[in-house]
């Protein structure tokens, strides 16, 4: 089982520790064995330890240390944000955020909806059981 996601210039990663937790960044250069230079459209370019990054499947086509404008253009072209939001990992994070921000009233409405859904499923199941039994 070889590694599939490599640290390379253009690899999109998710920051998993620290103040910038949860941000998508692009690796624009490798500083040494442990650190990379990362950049994102809304942050200052900064060095980060690899341990703080979780590599994703997304890779964009850029040269070493591109200018901010070039980087933003390349990210738009590769549709990094769109691909991320469609990926199952990205979708999970979005759902997690939404669940965490639920109001007490929202949680109540959610509970009602779950009960309704369960009731419908059980109805259908009962129907199917009856048909298969007869």
């Amino acid at each position: 089982m070889p590694f599939k996601r490599h640290v390379e210039i253009g690899r999109v990663a998710l920051i998993n520790y620290g103040k910038e937790y949860g941000k998508l960044v692009v690796i624009v250069d490798v500083v040494d064995q442990n650190r990379a230079l990362v950049d994102a459209p809304d942050m200052v370019r900064v060095q980060m330890n690899f341990k703080r990054l979780s590599l994703t499947d997304i890779k964009i086509d850029i040269k070493r240390v591109p200018s901010k404008k070039t980087l933003i253009a390349a990210m738009q072209e590769a549709d990094v944000q769109g691909r991320w939001e469609k990926s199952s990992w990205g979708r999970k994070l979005i759902v997690q955020k939404r669940r965490a921000s639920l109001n007490d009233f929202d949680r109540f409405k959610l509970m009602l909806a779950k009960i309704k859904r369960g009731a419908l499923i059980r109805q259908e199941l009962a129907k199917l059981k009856k048909e298969s039994a007869s």
């Binding site: 965490a100 109001n103 009233f105 109540f108 009602l112």
Partner: protein, 232 residues
């Protein structure tokens, strides 16, 4: 006195805080005090001191305490109602945390002058009457009910005060009838007040889908709920 023309500027610039550039004698000259004195015949002009009001004749006290009596410290406390949390505003749904109605979700009406909060169930559907609760025993949710239709101006702390009953001396014969006196019946006026507050409130609650059932349900912590991470 001539009115102050502008803000008085010092003629002695500050070198460092507390130290001016010019000495006392220089400043005397700069301010022109010599000229004012010359104009007024060698002395700085003074106006006559305000007449002292004549003090009433006090007699020396007849009694001096043997030891020094300590005076109690001055109390300048200005009592005011507790600061209302920014998350609580009229119409907010609150969760009661203690007491008979713990876990119940109620509607906040206003803060009374004593600092306590006036809330109502409303009573008809939820069994919580017009009641005073302390802020510390409430969680404020971010759900709000439209409360502008309700008129609750007349309620204040005196409305909720306990009625003081005259103590009756119990005679022999009254011992057996004592039970009848104990029962506290809520006066009809209070029931009418409750109704007048509740009916418009219930209408606005029914306007929002699911809000009625939401208020009917009690709040409880379930498995996996972390109160410090919950958004209310």
């Amino acid at each position: 006195m001539a009115p102050k023309s502008a803000k008085k500027v010092s003629r002695n610039p500050e070198l460092i805080r507390g130290i001016g550039k010019y000495s006392r004698s220089r400043m005397y000259h700069k301010r022109g005090l010599w000229a004012i004195k010359a104009k007024n015949g060698g002395a700085f002009p003074r106006h006559a001191p305000a007449p002292k009001p004549s003090l009433p004749i006090t007699k020396s006290p007849k009694f001096y305490p043997a030891d020094d009596v300590k005076k109690p410290l001055l109390n300048k406390r200005n009592p005011r109602p507790t600061k209302l949390r920014s998350s609580i505003s009229p119409g907010t749904v609150l969760i009661i945390l203690a007491g008979r109605f713990k876990g119940k979700r109620v509607v906040f009406l206003k803060q009374l002058p004593s600092g306590l909060l006036l809330i109502t169930g409303p009573f008809k559907i939820y069994g919580v009457p017009l009641r005073r609760v302390n802020q510390s025993y409430l969680i404020a949710t971010s759900t709000k009910v439209d409360i502008s239709v309700v008129n609750f101006e007349k309620f204040d702390d005196k409305y909720f005060a306990k009625k003081v009953e005259k103590k009756k001396k119990k005679g022999e014969g009254e011992f057996f009838e004592a039970e009848k006196e104990e029962k506290n019946v809520l006066p009809q006026e209070k029931k009418d007040d409750q109704k007048s507050v509740d009916t418009p409130l219930i209408k606005s609650i029914e306007g929002v889908p699911d809000l009625k059932t939401y208020l009917a349900a009690r709040f409880s912590l379930k498995a996996g709920m972390k109160p410090h991470e919950l958004v209310f």
